[in-house]
């Protein structure tokens, strides 16, 4: 691997680590800031992805919609409280051309409720397109394709 590619993978891994920390520490206002203004964020069941069916569990088409989701999480969607813990694999860089990078990483999100055991909540892979900006790498698209055939009741926070 060339030093440039090693550097790029390191940067993406650091970005994923920071992304996970924001969500796991419930700093939800920080979450849309990982994205460009017109970025897409989708959480989609693998069966839909594999069959080319367009429905997603969450389909947000701008940073504005992501902020609306954050308002939903923090102010409007009634839900039992829980923590998440993200474990994200090293990124696999698929391509890098100009300021655009395509990459993938596996993720597992565990859920822990007050008084409860930790459960495997959502498992899948991130399919990402990133752009290099003055402020570092930002997602222009993050698609979370999850294997988990059943959502454990509800999914409130982004993964």
């Amino acid at each position: 691997m060339s030093p440039e590619n090693m550097q790029l993978q390191f940067e993406i891994d650091q970005l994923n680590a920071a992304y996970a920390a924001a969500l796991d520490e419930k700093r939800f206002d920080a979450w849309p800031e990982f994205f460009l203004d017109d970025a897409h964020y989708m959480v989609q069941a693998r069966e839909n992805f594999d069959r080319g069916l367009p429905l997603a569990l969450m389909a947000l088409e701008s940073k504005g919609m992501m902020k609306d989701r954050v308002y939903g999480i923090t102010q409007t969607i009634y839900h039992g409280p829980y923590y998440t813990r993200h474990v994200i694999s090293p990124a696999m860089v698929l391509s890098s051309e100009g300021d655009t990078v395509n990459a993938q990483a596996n993720y597992a999100v565990f859920r822990t409720r007050p008084g409860g055991v930790s459960e495997v909540y959502n498992v899948g892979r991130y399919v990402d397109t990133l752009k290099r900006t003055g402020g570092g790498l930002k997602f222009s698209r993050r698609l979370c394709v999850y294997d988990s055939e059943m959502v454990l009741n509800s999914l409130i926070y982004p993964v």
Binding site: L55, M58, M65, Q75, T76, M150, V151, L152, L155
Partner: protein, 435 residues
């Protein structure tokens, strides 16, 4: 536990107090499977559009029994009278194996992997290895006994009814024809969405909810909660108590339609003291609620001859296991699959119409952010259902819920400030379950 019950375990009059044991008793749940899901009721299995080609199949459930919905070969002469949709049980007649493990696919026949018993798409047993024994010189070893008949050993075949692309099935010979089962009050609201339209499949969402299956039917027969639990509904006027609305049901009270028309939302008498109402809430990206009225929303009003009615939302509950949602431009079927008395799977199938523009498809997908297991609105429902079941479980036999908004009767209403549809469902349930 099999000793005869006292004459009536349901000690309260009427159906406005639902005992906790209706949700928590494991033995009663087994009886529900027999009397309701495997009894004289029609259950939703899927959409015709999910199996467009001959041999296409998908797995589904009726109660806890897994079934296969499949499109059979049809002779040209029968095409006018036979829709070709079959529903068979996914259980080999030989040793009981749930032989089909692919959730969907295309098949020429079904073969059980254990001993290669082979079935036609309609469930008939086509053949099995060593039926006539295995020759060993002059003698023949083994084989099925004399009198063994292929015809008598097929898969369980269910009765099937297809209504405007919705596929229903029943294990019972006694269930009345589907349209009679649904009844003349409910049928116009199914016709409004489906009649004469080709559907397109947008995809699935699946969630596992730790609560009794009836709680989900109740949730969609409960017009009281949406304007209180769901901030988006009350704030943006998608569903709230000051809207023109109507509660419709079939004559037995088991099916229902909640019909309403959105208003502008905002502050009003119905938002006073409602903590979920957010007076200053606006969206950063208003495309999440980019509602465009569709021509089919407006229909002749079934209860007012000569007048039209144009609801923006119709929530249809078809007992025992189907909810059909039209909430502005978002359309879905929601299928309840019970798993014991304290848990069910909830399968959402979102659809559109074949003549939708790409913009309308995009709009339907965007509005699906409101619904489903992560929905701005519906995620709340799964959560409160779980906590309802927790509450029932911690008390015990003599506890009951209180459903007396709008009184204790079971009549239809021209408003939504009522729990009449829940009372009606339990009046029917009590009879069927003989409790």
């Amino acid at each position: 536990m099999n000793a005869p019950q006292a004459l009536s375990r349901w000690s309260q009059p009427g159906s406005s107090r639902v005992p906790f044991w209706a949700y928590t008793d494991a033995q009663l749940y087994q009886q529900e499977l027999q009397k309701i899901f495997y009894g004289a009721h029609w259950s939703y299995v899927g959409l015709e559009v999910e199996i467009p080609n001959t041999g296409d199949f998908k797995l589904s459930f009726i109660g806890e029994r897994q079934v296969i919905m499949v499109r059979d070969r049809i002779a040209p002469k029968d095409r006018a009278t036979d829709h070709g949709i079959r529903v068979v049980e996914n259980r080999c007649a030989h040793r009981g194996v749930r032989f089909c493990q692919q959730p969907h696919g295309n098949a020429r026949s079904f073969v059980c992997p254990y001993h290669q018993w082979t079935y036609k798409l309609n469930g008939d047993l086509a053949g099995l290895p060593f039926k006539d024994g295995v020759k060993d010189g002059e003698c023949t070893n083994g084989g099925m006994p004399e009198g063994f008949n292929l015809q008598d050993n097929g898969l369980t075949k269910l009765r099937v009814a297809v209504l405007h692309g919705l596929v229903f099935a029943t294990f019972s010979d006694d269930a009345e024809p589907l349209e009679d089962y649904l009844g003349p009050n409910v049928m116009p609201w199914i016709n409004r969405i489906f009649k004469g339209r080709q559907l397109t499949l947008l995809g699935y969402n699946r969630q596992r909810i730790p609560g009794n299956w009836k709680l989900m039917m109740e949730n969609i027969k409960d017009p009281y909660h949406p304007g209180l639990l769901h901030t988006w509904f009350v704030t943006f006027g998608l569903w709230r108590a000051d809207q023109k609305s109507r509660m419709v049901m079939d004559e037995k009270g088991r099916h229902a339609v909640m019909i309403s028309r959105r208003n502008e939302g905002g502050q009003a008498a119905v938002t006073e003291g409602v903590t979920s109402f957010k007076a200053n809430m606006t969206l950063n990206d208003s495309r999440l609620l980019d509602v465009v009225p569709e021509p089919w929303w407006k229909v002749p009003d079934p209860s007012n001859p000569g007048a039209d009615i144009m609801p923006t939302v119709t929530m249809i509950t078809l007992f025992p296991s189907l909810i059909i949602q039209q909430q502005v431009n978002s359309l879905s079927t929601r299928h309840i699959v019970p798993r014991g008395e304290g848990e069910f799977d909830f399968v959402w199938t979102h659809f559109g119409f074949a003549d939708d523009t790409p913009e309308m498809t995009q709009r339907r997908l965007r509005q699906s952010n409101l619904f489903g297991p992560a929905g701005f609105v519906s995620a709340d429902d799964g959560e409160v259902i779980e906590f309802s079941q927790d509450g029932f479980r911690q008390w015990g036999e003599d506890g009951s819920t209180l459903c007396e908004l709008g009184g204790t009767g079971t009549e239809m209403t021209e408003h939504m400030v009522t729990e009449t549809l829940i009372r009606s469902m339990y009046a029917y349930w009590k009879k069927v379950m003989a409790v």
